[in-house]
């Protein structure tokens, strides 16, 4: 069994979904997503948690250019695949209450995007990586633009231009790397084996960095993000925040740092500073938000900043923290957006100041909300805690100051998250919130799964950490061996 089945199934599924009626399409899509999840789980069970690449597929694609359809799964990829395959059914399920116009197209696009994402996470060929990268971008553009809010056209074109611009620079970097390889291959391992001068590495570093920084997003490349999150339909926002921004992070781990180690050693410090600025910036802005969805969006900037900081610190703890935190953040942020989706669907607004006392009328909802908030603020025994602890540790080993700043920000984050919870759920019922009905059916299912995941991962993260540990360690050792320039 190779990874190709994992990549092609969603494409086929996407096409098939288009042939269903709108009402049936969501069931079909969910079915396909679950099949995909099943596949992924079977992959996990068969996975040997060492540094090797498994389930390898390697077919000629454009051989005269050294391009091969080559993909495989190592520990890092496995985590990402798991994240994707778990979240996609959840996201599809979360849309059950919506009546989307021309819904089958939405589900087809989601499935297609899943294929792109999985390609990114498993690609071992630079070209394939790029193609997957863009293949994930097109569907999300259409999802956001077709089913988005008022300003969707302007916001989405901004989003698209940003990400596309970034990715083109990445393409240039990839082609450049290819041209340096002695055997003219796009294979990632032949990229790894290159020893380029610092100047060349600088080019490559910036080519990749801009693409990934925009995707994550790192301050100051984030300006597309809050608008897009706000305007996008909830499913789109979830795809974006839950999975897509992980593409950037994964890219940094897999493509940026190993391919330009010396440039990273030179620039990593500044990248780290940018990440920390992002944490602070995201938190401060989030603190002032009235719109719940925007608040989550900015908090996401802060969290991603932390993940990025952990990676740029480039230690086993940091990267492992990033791995686990990616999953946690994915789950939490999907949950958070779903919460806000439920609220805005019931109340027609997302303005926090208009709310209050919902817990009284919707106890189940309030419990789920609370768990997700706690997960987000990284309370021990929730999933957020494991990741943030490791990340902070990684950053702490790098420089204490940044760890301190980042740590303070986490506390800060707890404040605004809890304040949000308080404002929305507690206090007096008003006219608006009195109409709130408790969650039911598919909503209950989704929130239930999310809460369960939050707690399970929080209590017992070991299997997940174990999955990626060997690969991460191996990667860090190989790359660190190449550092010639001194760190700051």
């Amino acid at each position: 069994m190779t990874v190709s089945i994992l990549l092609f199934l969603p494409v086929v599924a996407a096409v098939l979904t288009l042939f269903f009626k709108n009402e049936v399409a969501k069931h079909a899509a969910l079915f396909f997503a679950l099949v995909e999840l099943g596949l992924a789980i079977s992959f996990v069970t068969g996975f040997v948690p060492n540094a090797s690449i498994q389930y390898l597929v390697d077919l000629p694609w454009i051989p005269q250019f050294g391009i091969y359809f080559s993909a495989g799964i190592d520990g890092i990829s496995m985590v990402m695949v798991l994240l994707t395959t778990v979240l996609v059914p959840l996201i599809i399920l979360s849309t059950y209450e919506h009546q989307y116009k021309n819904g089958k197209a939405l589900y087809a696009l989601i499935l297609f995007m899943q294929a792109g994402l999985l390609t990114v996470f498993t690609a071992l060929d630079g070209f394939l990586f790029y193609v997957g990268w863009e293949a994930a971008l097109i569907p999300i553009y259409f999802i956001c633009a077709l089913w988005g809010g008022e300003n969707r056209i302007r916001v989405n074109i901004k989003f698209f231009i940003y990400t596309f611009a970034g990715s083109l620079f990445m393409l240039v970097a990839i082609i450049y790397l290819y041209l340096q390889t002695p055997s003219k291959l796009y294979d990632i391992h032949s990229f790894y084996e290159l020893s380029l001068s610092l100047k060349q590495q600088n080019w490559i570093f910036w080519g990749f960095f801009i693409a990934f920084a925009i995707k994550m997003p790192i301050f100051p490349f984030h300006t597309w993000q809050p608008d897009t999150y706000t305007e996008a339909p909830t499913a789109g926002t979830m795809m974006l925040s839950g999975i897509m921004l992980k593409m950037g992070i994964y890219g940094v781990i897999r493509w940026l740092i190993p391919n330009a180690p010396n440039a990273f050693a030179y620039w990593g410090y500044y990248a780290l500073i940018l990440s920390v600025i992002g944490i602070v910036y995201g938190s401060v802005i989030a603190f002032r938000q009235k719109d719940g969805k925007r608040l989550v969006a900015y908090s996401s900037i802060a969290h991603v900043g932390l993940i990025a900081a952990g990676i740029f610190a480039w230690s086993v703890q940091g990267v492992q923290g990033a791995m686990i935190q990616m999953i946690s953040h994915g789950i939490n942020v999907v949950g958070m957006f779903f919460i806000w989706d439920i609220i805005s669907r019931r109340l027609g607004t997302r303005d926090i100041s208009l709310m209050g006392g919902i817990a009284k009328v919707a106890p189940k909802f309030s419990i789920a909300f609370l768990i997700i908030v706690l997960g987000t603020v990284a309370l021990p025994l929730t999933n957020g805690f494991v990741g943030e602890f490791l990340l902070l540790k990684g950053v702490y080993n790098y420089t204490i100051v940044f760890a301190a700043v980042a740590g303070l920000t986490i506390i800060f984050g707890a404040v605004y998250m809890l304040r949000m919870y308080k404002n929305v759920m507690q206090g007096e019922l008003n006219e608006l919130t009195a109409t709130f009905t408790d969650i039911k059916g598919s909503e209950r299912l989704v929130l239930g799964i999310i809460c369960a995941l939050i707690i399970i991962i929080g209590v017992y993260p070991q299997p997940l950490l174990h999955l990626s540990e060997a690969s991460v360690t191996n990667l860090i050792q190989t790359v660190s061996a190449k550092f010639t320039a001194t760190k700051f």
């Binding site: 863009e134 097109i138 074109i157 596309f164 240039v172 290819y178």
Partner: protein, 462 residues
């Protein structure tokens, strides 16, 4: 070689069919004839690419020629299929329409297979003179008249430059044969005289005029806008492709030894072309004019292969040209349909198209994505080849300029998508005739097929 003969005789047959009022037979005969030409052309393909010059060294029908002939013929077939019912509305000389297009195609086939500057000149002129007529075929339409006159004057003007360049090169080398000129360059690099350099410069000017590269592009938008849409389509696809094929053939086979002389010139031209085309396209309110300007910027991308000349250049141009041609066919096919309904060339004519015509909107989206160079479409493969070529010569700044331009181009290509999907308008369903369905569907599939698995055609030229 038979294909040139078939394509030359075919229009005469069509003219006579038109004389005897066999209007119904025109399109089938034209398409069948072209298919025959296609087959004969493909049969010329050899694995080792060992074709020898024929007719006293006048023509060389090698794999390069086969590949470009094939794409030209296929594009023409698709364009002719789109013409079903189109020409009748413009003029009552339908047979002439088909015939002149095919005459032009005959010139194009010569252009992609010449081995002697004489034939290059003849090919270019057979093509151009036919196009002058085609541009003005809507006799009572002022814009069409103007397009024809401008195109004609500019075309003749550029021919002058081209010829003067050829004359000077002949003066320096004493031959029109491509190999002869190259041998002369290789054998006497020391005494290369100023005549030769001036000649090369003038040929560059002439050819840049013909392919519409800035700063010699100013006729392009007017002519493209004024000419009937189908003719514009023909000009911006087949003709442009052939122009670049001829360009490349000359520069790769002939002027390669002095590449360091002309690459800086072409580099500047490329960069200007990219920016001029893109930035002006950004401000257009008419879809047709946008396509015209964007075709200038595509000319810029195509120039990449010549600037970064090398073994892969032919393939790069071929891939890019193929992608660009089929995407343009979709775009213009869509434009013709939309225009028939709304009567406007503007972007607003596309508003809300997706609701009523999902198929049309989908294929147009594929076309726009391809033109913008998004992966999994043929356009991306084309750009990828171009970037690879340029980077392999370490022209990093050129590629960065190109990247910036690719980003700019997103704005205007996505305007169409935005209009179709995200803007609403009260509109009726556009009727899509079966011919159009076939052409558009075929082109969209080809775009995606090439985008996903480019090896299907990238092996044509080694």
């Amino acid at each position: 070689m038979t294909s040139i003969i078939i394509i030359s005789i075919l229009p005469i047959v069509l003219l006579y069919l038109g004389l005897y009022k066999a209007q119904k037979a025109l399109l089938p005969v034209a398409v069948l004839g072209l298919l025959a030409a296609l087959v004969t052309s493909v049969l010329q393909w050899t694995i080792l690419d060992e074709a020898q010059p024929i007719y006293n060294g006048m023509l060389l029908y090698n794999n390069f020629s086969v590949a470009f002939s094939v794409i030209s013929i296929i594009s023409t077939i698709l364009i002719l299929l789109l013409s079903k019912g189109y020409f009748e509305k413009i003029s009552n000389h339908i047979a002439e329409y088909y015939a002149i297009i095919l005459f032009s195609l005959a010139g194009i086939i010569v252009m992609v297979s010449y081995h002697n500057l004489t034939m290059m000149f003849i090919g270019i002129e057979i093509m151009s003179v036919s196009l002058y007529i085609l541009a003005g075929i809507r006799k009572n339409d002022f814009a069409s008249n103007e397009a024809a006159l401008k195109y004609f004057l500019m075309g003749a003007f550029s021919t002058g430059f081209l010829l003067f360049g050829i004359a000077l090169i002949y003066g320096a080398t004493g031959t029109f044969d491509i190999d002869g000129i190259r041998d002369w360059l290789l054998n006497s690099p020391r005494k290369i005289d100023p005549l030769f350099y001036t000649g090369v410069m003038l040929i560059i000017v002439g050819l840049c005029f013909k392919v519409g590269a800035a700063p010699f592009h100013f006729w392009t938008p007017d002519v493209y806008e004024g000419a009937p849409s189908l003719i514009t389509l023909f000009m911006s696809t087949v003709v442009k492709v052939a122009g670049f094929a001829a360009f490349l053939r000359l520069f790769s086979a002939c002027f390669l030894p002095i590449a360091q002389f002309w690459t800086p010139v072409l580099l500047v031209i490329t960069i200007i072309t990219l920016f001029v085309g893109n930035i002006t396209a950004l401000y257009q309110q008419s879809f047709k004019r946008m396509m015209a300007f964007s075709s200038i910027s595509h000319a810029g991308y195509l120039m990449f292969a010549i600037v970064a000349i090398g073994a892969a250049s032919a393939n790069a141009i071929f891939m890019y040209a193929t992608a660009y041609s089929i995407a343009s066919i979709i775009a213009f096919g869509g434009l013709i349909l939309v225009r028939q309904q709304t009567g406007t060339d503007g972007f607003e004519g596309f508003n809300g198209l997706a609701n009523k015509n999902p198929f049309l909107a989908l294929v147009l989206t594929v076309a726009m994505l391809s033109l913008a160079g998004i992966p999994l479409t043929a356009g991306f493969i084309g750009k990828f080849y171009m970037f690879s070529g340029a980077l392999s010569q370490y022209r990093i700044w050129l590629v960065i300029v190109a990247v910036v331009n690719a980003i700019i181009s997103i704005f205007y290509y996505f305007r169409v998508i935005v209009a179709m999907y995200f803007r609403n308008a009260d509109r009726e369903q556009v009727e899509v005739p079966a011919y159009y369905k076939f052409v558009l569907g075929f082109s969209a599939l080809a775009t995606i097929l090439v985008g996903v698995y480019p090896t299907v055609i990238s092996g044509l030229i080694k």
